[in-house]
Symmetry: C2
Subunit: 351 residues, 2 copies
């Protein structure tokens, strides 16, 4: 899944270049490229499908030159994750009625790759042999209030438990209780299922969406596929897979582990994953000299130097035509700032 916009990382991410296409950590590979690299260790490369917005087609093919255009599924409109997954499931089902899917966002970070791959193999094996929807849960390392939680019940096999409930972002007190209980995992937004299982779930809980792609099955993989999608995709209900499917199914399971995972949802969560200097400043990109600075994240373009003095707990992100300075504690307001910029500036050159 590579169709998101990532407004919370403005001005580093833009509508024209969202988060998944950026080399956030200065490793030389974008989040999308790292996701592809990981996935290519799990399945035959030609079986990797990238679902993205039409606007990002060329950027996907440029960043992943080993991928053929046929592997890139193009959404003509933003309809959240449920229609995206229904489309991919139709494509897989048309090719192989016994297919198994592993669905991953392309803008997350995984630092413990070996553990991740081991779990993914177990997960794919589990859903190939069970009529189960399986989510990847992350063992919490802190009482994070920014993530959704999965409450797990009885263990089915080693590391896999039945899901009791999906819980939205808790407050700080509740997050502490969740973490201490040992019953809760972070919801990573990664899923395993057989196409048969997910089709049954769509048929039951999102029947209109199911019907559209059922009608489209005959076009999948043909020259008419895009025309069909352009016609029918935009009228799909805009809903996430969590709200549309996961919260209703009775066969949800969670495979849990510690994969050094972060959804990099905000500058603050990126800050948490980065190396820091002696004063806890993270400088993932560009050169900066810091004086009397603590706990900042500072991102500067190549070829530029920042001199920063007297700043605490701030986000400083500089790009060619936009500069953001914001307290980390106020980062949820960045989306509003971007709205204000777009109202003020009319055009979209800054957003």
């Amino acid at each position: 899944m590579a169709g998101g916009v990532g407004a919370r990382f403005w001005p580093y991410s833009r509508n024209s270049r969202p988060k998944q296409f950026l080399d956030f950590l200065g490793t030389g590979r974008s989040l999308l490229q790292m996701t592809y690299d990981r996935t290519a260790k799990l399945v035959p490369k030609e079986n990797i499908l990238i679902v993205t917005n039409k606007a990002y087609r060329d950027m996907v093919l440029e960043q992943l030159p080993m991928v053929s255009a046929r592997q890139v599924l193009l959404e003509p409109a933003r309809r959240n994750t449920a229609p995206c997954i229904a489309y991919a499931a139709a494509r897989v089902y048309a090719a192989n009625k016994n297919g198994v899917m592993f669905v991953v966002p392309s803008d997350h970070l995984i630092t413990k790759e070996a553990e991740f791959i081991e779990a993914a193999i177990q997960g794919m094996d589990f859903v190939a042999n069970n009529d189960a929807i399986l989510t990847l849960g992350i063992t919490p390392s802190r009482p994070e209030t920014g993530y959704g939680y999965i409450q797990a019940g009885q263990e089915v096999e080693n590391g896999i438990r039945k899901v009791k409930t999906f819980t939205e972002k808790p407050n700080a007190e509740l997050a502490k209780v969740f973490m201490d209980s040992g019953e809760f995992y972070w919801n990573s937004g990664m899923f395993f299922w057989s196409v048969k299982t997910i089709r049954a779930a769509f048929r039951k809980f999102l029947p209109n969406t199911f019907a559209k792609f059922e009608m489209g099955l005959a076009f999948m993989g043909t020259d008419s596929e895009q025309a069909f999608i352009d016609e029918y995709f935009p009228s799909c209900q805009k809903i996430s897979i969590d709200y549309g499917i996961m919260e209703h199914v009775t066969n949800a399971h969670v495979l849990f582990g510690d994969f050094g995972w972060s959804d990099l949802g905000t500058w603050g969560s990126l800050y948490d994953t980065l190396d820091k200097d002696d004063n806890s400043n993270a400088k993932p990109k560009g050169k900066s000299l810091c004086y009397d600075c603590h706990k900042n994240i500072i991102v500067v373009p190549e070829g530029k130097i920042a001199v920063v003095q007297g700043l605490e707990d701030c986000i400083v992100v500089d790009t060619d035509n936009a500069l953001l300075i914001c307290k980390k504690s106020d980062e949820q307001r960045i989306r509003q700032f971007v709205n204000d910029v777009s109202l003020l500036e009319k055009g979209d050159e800054f957003i």
Copy 2:
């Protein structure tokens, strides 16, 4: 005098483009241009001499296209103000032994031009008729610790008093006493004298410098002038006119007034002169959206937008290849920051 570097305004000013060449206030005219415009109301345009560093020759002629190359005196090395003034005095004396000089820095701000011009006419008249060194003193409007002060004695004529002492930058307590006494004026670094008077002072207090330019008199205004200057100027003692001459002479006078003057010595003093928004933020250049911000000065290049949240009493200056964020209270450290940048980066692209 237009040879200074202005490191305190880094990164907006650079070695390659110092403060006097910048349009600091967004008026469309650089400080040098504004200084020329003012001076041209006082004296025949062809009598205006601009002393600058050789490196800035083309920039001066570009910004002042009405000025002939003959009016631009080129220093091959930085030697502070005394040699600069000795050179200009030699050029004036060679042209007119009864000449009168009004010496002005090119990087100051004057907002009350009518009062300034009236005072300048009085000053030039005074030194044409008296063997006096006359400085322009500014009636203090606040107990500023960043300026030098002139203690004045007995009044000689309306607005002109004998100088008792020159005093370096006082501490806050002393500055308060100075201001309340009514005896002290800010030293603006602007001077009036006849060439005869200033030559006598150089002969007595900086005899080596005097001797060099005495030897050079025959070259002034000829094709050999630059060759002479290139040979002899670099060996002049590096010293300011204040230390080298003013503090020793017995015929120093001060002409005082309120000219809306600022030496724009730092971002903080520039901030004081600028219009502010409702939250006391000054934004002299570029677009910026401020949230929860107070008492900042924010300078952004054309075509760029800054979004700034939660900043108080800070300097934010963004340029194409350097960004500065610094507490106003720490602005005296900017010079050190620039040194650090030049050590870190070797080349001079950032300084």
